[in-house]
């Protein structure tokens, strides 16, 4: 990890290695410069069989930044994340309303086919889920193969590049044919990140990517995110407020309303959310009064 952290410092100079205190960290968060919007949400709501799971969500995901979504269980963070690459399409009775625009094009009513959309918006899941029937190499190459790319030379190069980006290349380059299940939990999650990166997505959605990992593996993945945002916009759902404070530039706070539907309470720069939130409920949550 030595070389990894030096890379981190080079690429995002204001970002010192993560420390525990939120206050000291917040001072180092870069000022909220105007950034290009890559994904915009307007009045997004998700209902399952006409029961509202999350609603009234409007915010912009800025390019090459990390946007976190925080909030207690049931506030609709994961539901919202899955709406961003149309994974709810698989669920019977799920309806996404409102507008989600990727580079100005409506992803639900526009002309982007769902499968092509999903290759532009990748996803890393809560539990590492490398394909157990495939080798390490085949896992990373799988997304490209799904998208019809067969050229061996290109695949080899893309696999190495993706694994390098996920800080896994050095430890697996000698055993590319080994089953993915032989890796440790943290390595498996980085393999999943590499698998998602290989398709060269514009946005990477991460659904509590470290919740099933030990602290060291968690640290690796957090370190990784600060370098990854140079090449891909990241949206991360996390239960862990310190993690949101450490890794994200912008932050959305969601809360479950009285009718058990999640809603967006506040969206701002992470610095503002953690130092000077506009809403009292946000303040209560980040100060640990509930949730």
């Amino acid at each position: 990890m030595m070389d990894m952290s030096s890379v981190t410092n080079e690429m995002t100079e204001p970002f010192a290695p993560p420390t525990i205190s939120i206050g000291s960290l917040v001072d180092q968060i870069p000022s909220n410069a105007p950034a290009e919007t890559v994904l915009s949400l307007r009045d997004v709501a998700v209902t399952f069989n006409s029961k509202v799971a999350v609603r009234d969500v409007s915010f912009d995901v800025a390019k090459n930044r990390v946007t976190s979504m925080i909030g207690p269980s049931g506030s609709g963070k994961t539901t919202l994340l899955r709406a961003m690459n149309r994974l709810h399409d698989l669920t019977k009775g799920a309806v996404v309303s409102g507008t989600l625009e990727l580079d100005g094009e409506d992803i639900y009513r526009g002309s982007i086919p769902t499968t092509l959309l999903r290759s532009r918006i990748g996803m890393v899941f809560q539990r590492p889920n490398p394909f157990p029937t495939m080798s390490i190499y085949d896992n990373v190459a799988s997304g490209l193969r799904f998208n019809g790319i067969k050229k061996k030379a290109f695949l080899d190069d893309a696999v190495e590049h993706a694994l390098t980006s996920a800080a896994l290349w050095e430890s697996v380059k000698g055993r590319m044919k080994a089953a993915a299940g032989t890796l440790s939990g943290g390595e498996q999650q980085r393999l999943c990140i590499a698998r998602a990166l290989a398709v060269e997505p514009e946005i990477l959605l991460m659904d509590e990517p470290t919740s099933s990992l030990d602290p060291v593996s968690t640290q690796h993945i957090e370190d990784l995110m600060s370098t990854l945002k140079e090449i891909v916009t990241i949206v991360i759902v996390t239960h862990n407020m310190q993690q949101a404070a450490r890794v994200s530039d912008d932050c959305a706070f969601l809360l479950m309303g009285e009718d058990r539907a999640g809603e967006l309470i506040e969206f701002a720069s992470t610095e503002k959310i953690f130092t000077n939130p506009s809403d009292k409920r946000t303040l209560d949550y980040i100060q640990g009064r509930f949730g």
């Binding site: 690459n85 029937t133 799988s142 032989t182």
Partner: protein, 314 residues
Amino acid sequence: MSTDVVELDQEVEPEDRRAFVQRQSREHYGRRVFLSRAFLSLLIVSLLVAFIPLFSIVQNVIGHGWHFLTWRFLSTPEQQPDIFHQSAIGGVSNAITGTVLIDGVAMLVAVPLSILLSMALFESKGRLMHALRLYTEVMVGLPSILVSFFVFAMVVTPFLAASGYYFTALAGVISLTLLMIPLMTVACEAALRDVPVTYSEAALALGARKSRVMMRVLLPYAFPRMLTGIMLSLSRAVGETAPILFLIGTSLVTNWSLWSEQTTLPTQIFHNLDSNNPYLRNACWGIALILITAVFVLNLTSRVIVARSLRGRK
């Protein structure tokens, strides 16, 4: 209700409660030991009731059948003994080829069809397909003699018999295929359902189309369980008599034609038992041993393949 609880709270001090629970536990201890021993005895009795006959089948079949396992018995076709040479009964090569032919062809048709069918049922969401899935499950319990009757009435009588083919291996193949399809389809669909949804989500999130997810992710993961189901269905079909008995006739010569009459191992057992020649009846032990061995080998092979393909999976 609530007043009762309050009264109890007031009457019994925590120390007394512990004493009460411990005294009760001591008093019930003997009865609990007795009950658990009685239950254990019940389990042992049920084991004996089930396994004494099950073991005795195999023991008798091996004991009476092993001396039939000669190359001569396996490689010569059956003979009808005449009255002066009652022991000249020949062998079983005609029944072995008949079994391999009929079950082999039926499997070649049923396996791909069932796998495709299971994929369709797995992917489908509509009410019609839901009904079809239920129907397939019900057809698993279809009495095999009904399949035989159906093939006789709907295939043999109007088509085959009309062209002069009364008893054919083909009719047996159709019958066994019909019997195997629901069994295999249900097993394969269950195997597909067994794949954790997170893997198909991962593939979809990479931009895979559903057909790719099926072929590259679901099918490889489900393969071992599918194979188990297919092998179980096959070993059931190999041993079936009723669906083919009245369709395939008998053949005393070894041949590989779907249009001719055939004998399979189970039908030969049936015909031999029906005979009044003691040598033919006794040869049933030998045929039974071959049949049991075949079914064991099929099952063991599939288990080995399954264990191999599960290796390295977490």
